[in-house]
Amino acid sequence: MIIKIIFSIVIVFVSTIIGEIYANGYRQRTKMISQLISTLQMLETEIVYASTPLPFLMQKVSRRSPPEIANLLETTSEILLRKEGYTFSEAWQKGIELSHKNSALYKEDLALLINLGNNLGNSDRDNQMKHIQLAMEELRRNYDEAIHLQNKNVKLYKSMGLLGGLAIVIILF
């Protein structure tokens, strides 16, 4: 009897955690997008007011960014400083591939970033500002969508985890 009860508790516990993990993916994405937006804000300020060249700018901004984004910026800047002949957009893409293999961001979020990378650095300040603002605008749209998904799915997955666990227990015993 006691074994049965312990077993049931474990099953419910595990399935709740699985539900939580799924739900967390949605929360992570919204968090990441909002962090990305503030990082782009910093990029814009650095470009427009300080004209810092990209490799140094990335290092500077990475120090003030959360770890996942800092990773992307640092990887890119390292590739650039090695001067192996990669253009900025190539280095940026590599950085995204290396640092966002398992990230919570969706393909469409990453595509936005890659697109921004194709334009960063190759025009004057006014133009750079426009590109960054456009990317931020699009990220905000993705953010709204992410929030919407989060509101819809977090509760769903959480309760599905719990209820699923209970269902298994009832069926088994």
């Binding site: 470009i47 004209s51 810092t52 060249p53 253009t87 650095g121 025009s123 133009n127």
Partner: protein, 347 residues
Amino acid sequence: MNPMESNFIKKASNMDTHLQLEQYLCPELRKIVGKIPETFKTTMEEIRLRMNQPLMVYGNNQDYFVSPTGELVKDRERGFPVGRINIENTLQFISNYSIYAVEEELKRGYITITGGHRVGIVGRVVTDDKGIKTMRDFSGLNIRVSREKKGVANSVMKYLINERGDFYNTLIVSPPQCGKTTLLRDIIRHISNGMPALGLRGLKIGVVDERSEIGGSFQGVPQNDLGVRTDLLDGCPKAAGMMMLIRAMSPEVIATDEVGKQEDNMAIEEALMAGIRLITTVHGNSVEDLYHKKIICNLVKDKIFQRIIVLSNKGDVGTIEGIYDGNTMKNLIMSPIRNRVVRSNDH
């Protein structure tokens, strides 16, 4: 006198110079330029990229097309055609991946890179009511190799210092591409470091480097050795810069490139009044040429310059045709001083 004495120039690390330069080319061109024979690379003065035209290099007073395998050819059909992508990528490396960070430089039409090399840029210029705003659609690059030739002034210095170890006001006269700035730079270094053998103690020297050619500054740091007592004002208009130096840095000597404007005159007078020595350069082929230039002519007639050095590229770049005494207009050297360039690996 023996024109050969102490006139062997050690070229500063040639290997490093072009390795450093090749880093700035896009990978495709890097490979091709890497295959150019070493012997040519040590004398290479320019690499030229023009859109849809063959890659060209200039050296030994003539230009060559470069084939995809790095051969120097005279037949343009065999040259490697430079495309838009080559120019754009090369410019990325030159601008440190950030065109927006070199906006000021684009307005002037050139960028100075590490090592003091200079990259000239052409393209479509965008203007607004304030003048040139920026440049885009880049169509050509000219990478000029800068070789710091330490020692070119060794044989000249003794004519520029009097028996009390005082420096004479000096004017360097030279046609373009004859090593005018190179000579000026080396004289600056000698004045700044001092030459105990000639009784010259190191003097405080202020340099106004309007076109960033003397110091070859990269992000404000001179890439060429200008000596220990040198203060460099980079990118500053000459007249304003001279005044700034007089007021702020108490120099004993002021050096600048290519005077000739009306306002320069004022600044020069100001400097002379403050007891400051001058060294400057001017375009021209001979002393007679000076009399056709208004500002310089007056200065020469007033016997401001006690020494006038005339350069030419007869024989070699940087041949010193004559050193004239500004008071008597007599040539102080018997025969032209040739700048023998000796390659050395012992540094």
